[in-house]
Amino acid sequence: MSEAPKKTAVELHEVSLSYEPSIPVLRDINLVINEGEFVSIVGPSGCGKSSLLKLISGLVNPISGEVSVRGKKVVGTPPSIGFMFQRDALLPWANVKDNIRVGLECAGVTRSDHDSRIQSLLDLLGLAEFGSHYPHALSGGMRQRTALGRLLAYAPEIYLMDEPFGALDALTKIAMGRELLRIWGEQKRPVLFVTHDIEEAVSLSDRVVVMSWRPGTIKANYEVALERPRDPRKVRMLPEFHALVDKIWSDITEE
């Protein structure tokens, strides 16, 4: 941890949300994500984890409380937010290159720079040979790599990830986590990572936030004091890792 005072990237203050009047989804959420911090949110499915990300990205509005990104209240979508969905949300009619291009186009990158940017992202993500493949011809892991490529092409300053590797098999999941940490380590952008996989959360994060079931509230905060840079596979062999996973497990199952 650095000595300098931490800067706040995202802040939720007493935020409550409901889609229908009598059904509260989130209640009195207070959460701060600092610049450069990798924070995971774990909790049972249906606890409103995804809604939390939608609040920050301005896709939904709270019924009370305030959401702010870099000190500015969220009204509509704030700039430089990158959102990664559990379902990759790739465009089926566009090949891998063109799906990545969407990120560049939305970021307003000059057209003449597209090809070189796309090429370097394909190389970075091990997709070099798949540029002209359409999504249906790709494996789940490849599809998520493409979605990650699109996200990186947009060059966001804050990453919101909604169970991005949730649909992948265990091996691919760990490989993608490692890739994500490598990229995160270079840029040190704040990440808010939603998952229901506690081991994944602990292996990736600086901090794990535990949420309770409906209405979703924040139940606990765990600092993850594991070394950085970190290999999310090797870290799983450490006793501290298991101790923390166990603590969070019992916290969740207590309900």
């Binding site: 896709l59 979508t77 959102f83 949300a89 566009a94 186009e105 947009y154």
Partner: protein, 249 residues
């Protein structure tokens, strides 16, 4: 390999049906009611040589084509508009579905009264058959757009125009093609109906004219020509669709 065996199987099926038909028409059925395939082939050849087949066929095909063309040209924007404005769509829906449920055959006399017995009344007839299907399909297509894809673009602050171009239009395209495939048959029905009720040419007119003279061979020849046109139209529509949606295969 599969293509070749498929073509062979289709030809065999056609040959079997025609053979059975020829046999039945020769030995079982009074020739007053049923024409033999061989007679139909002879008549079609005759019509082709005299140029009548071309004259009638062209009239029907062009009218059906323009009916289909304008249905897409006008129907797609209306469907998109409905999709963009749910309130508008909900307001118009009962009237629209009422018109859709109205048998268009019942409108044909009106079209002929208003628009005369020339091509225009047939084009409008075909249009009235097809346009509803195009509008409804396009509207359904807009409603079926993947929400996550929209959210994905919105989070990256893509413009409304960009959203439509990149997500809405491409995802509506298969729905429009589905309506075109259904519309091919309907457009022919519309054109032929118009010709039945008032025309001086067209395959529908030829069928009606032959029936009036108790010329069963003429009736069947007209029907065969229509059948062939239907198959051809469908194949063209399928080929265009396959070109547009190569990403699926």
């Amino acid at each position: 390999m599969r293509r070749i065996s498929l073509t062979l199987a289709r030809l065999a099926l056609a040959a079997f049906i025609l053979g059975l038909w020829e046999y039945a028409a020769t030995y079982w059925v009074d020739p007053f009611w049923l024409a033999k395939p061989s007679e139909i082939a002879a008549r079609l050849t005759e019509l082709a040589v005299s140029g009548d087949l071309w004259l009638h066929g062209r009239a029907t095909v062009t009218n059906a084509f323009w009916g289909l063309f304008f249905s897409v040209l006008i129907g797609v924007p209306i469907g998109l508009l409905f999709g963009a404005n749910r309130f508008l769509a909900d307001t118009i829906e009962p009237f629209f579905l009422g018109l859709y449920s109205l048998p268009r055959v019942a409108l044909a006399p009106l079209f002929i009264l208003w628009l005369g017995i020339d091509d225009l009344s047939k084009i409008v007839m075909a249009f009235s058959m097809v346009v509803f299907v195009v509008v409804l399909n396009t509207y359904e297509g807009v409603r079926a757009v993947d929400r996550e894809q929209l959210d994905m673009i919105r989070v990256m602050r893509g413009s409304q125009f960009y959203l439509v171009r990149r997500v809405v239009l491409p995802s509506v395209t298969p729905w429009v093609f589905a309506s075109i495939r259904a519309g091919v048959g309907l457009a022919l029905v519309g054109a032929v109906l118009g010709e039945f009720l008032g025309a001086n040419r067209g395959l529908g007119w030829y069928v009606e004219f032959s029936a009036g003279r108790l010329d069963v061979i003429g009736v069947f020849s007209g029907l065969f020509a229509l059948l062939a046109i239907g198959i051809g139209f469908n194949e063209v529509a399928r080929a265009i669709e396959a070109r547009f949606m190569r990403y699926r295969s």
